[in-house]
Subunit: 222 residues, 2 copies
């Protein structure tokens, strides 16, 4: 498939998974078109047809062919436009990056959701505790490095950083402050946000908080 | 890291996730040592130390370094010993293979577990229905091809086939027959089992059924 074909992203502004794809494309200097989905008012025919199984954004079309699942799309982008590299070339280091990517995918957004989706104080308290433990694990994996892979911003950073745009909502609904528990991880967030490729597409945490609040109201969670 | 170093697998006979690693190593003609874990009588120090987050098999040590998570391990094996290839080299085809691998990982074993872990007839019936729908999706993805990737046995086949060693248990506890619903998928199972690399390490379905039955008794599910 030609590298030079048209790129179209089925997007949603608050989706951290869409932001992953946008950051990866920005890092590679690739231009793309966006089509904003209305996830509540009815999904587009194109989304339903291209992702019939999950019916979820992001979907990216490259030369008209759909690619699905944000972590898979980021890897596709990395393989199609190799410079600058996002994943390490060494199989062992790559396996380590994939391990953390998988951990982030299984844990962060799901446990974060348990914070804002619940009204029961006890369940929420448990979720906040679990969420902080997850961040501590990530802080340990980060260690004293600038980024998860070392000196260079890469794959794990790209998968993780957009999720942090939802942290303000988690904090406000859960009554805690991320920074109080994981100072090094918080410094990593700030470091990532200094990159234009990130800040340009990072969902506004205040707007995400408002969005989550409206979603709670719509679903009778108050 | 040298390709030629020692390989040690922390294994468990009934684990389809361990079988994935064994099939991949057999396909590549790589010799490995196995250390059987006693998952009920206490996990080994080596397992707890090498996989402190999930504390799960399989773990494979290559030259003493641990690699975790079965789908990541299979990819590591494919990159370290490229012949015969398991994943397609074309980024688009690779992304498609990864999509199905992800679908299988999220759905098959979890929904299968809802069949044998439940005593409520209604929940179980729902799980059986969902399980058959998942297999129909996979059958559609397989189409008229011999294997998921086409003519050659590869990555998606390696991730999927070991899970089918648990199907007899799902069928007996759920009161259904996989073959009645997905004849082409069932033919694919038989086709895979004709490969020595698979049959050699495939958990015995009768023993798995017995194992699941004992597990149910131990946990008061009857």
């Amino acid at each position: 498939m030609s590298k030079d074909g048209k790129l179209l992203l089925l997007d949603f502004w608050a989706s951290p998974f869409c932001a992953r794809v946008k950051i990866a494309l920005e890092e590679k200097g690739q231009k793309y078109e966006q089509s904003e989905e209305n996830l509540f008012g009815g999904k587009s025919e194109l989304l339903l047809k291209s992702n019939p199984i999950h019916k979820k954004v992001p979907v990216i079309f490259h030369n008209g062919k759909p690619i699905l699942e944000s972590s898979i799309i980021v890897e596709y982008i990395d393989e199609t436009w190799p410079s600058p590299p996002l994943l390490p070339s060494c199989p062992y280091e790559k396996a380590q990056a994939k391990f953390w990517a998988d951990y982030i995918d299984k844990k962060v957004f799901e446990v974060g959701g348990n914070i804002w989706r619940n009204t029961s104080g006890e369940v929420q308290e448990e979720a906040v505790k679990e969420f902080i433990e997850i961040l501590k694990q990530l802080e340990e994996a980060l260690g004293d490095k600038d980024f998860f892979g070392g000196k260079a911003f890469g794959y794990v950073d790209i998968l993780a950083i957009p999720l942090t745009s939802w942290f303000l909502a988690f904090e406000k609904f859960g009554g805690f402050k991320v920074e109080d528990h994981v100072p090094k991880f918080s410094a990593w967030i700030k470091r990532c946000l200094q990159r234009e490729t990130v800040s340009k597409v990072y969902p506004d945490p205040e707007k995400v908080y408002e969005f989550v609040g409206n979603f709670r109201k719509m679903n009778g969670i108050e």
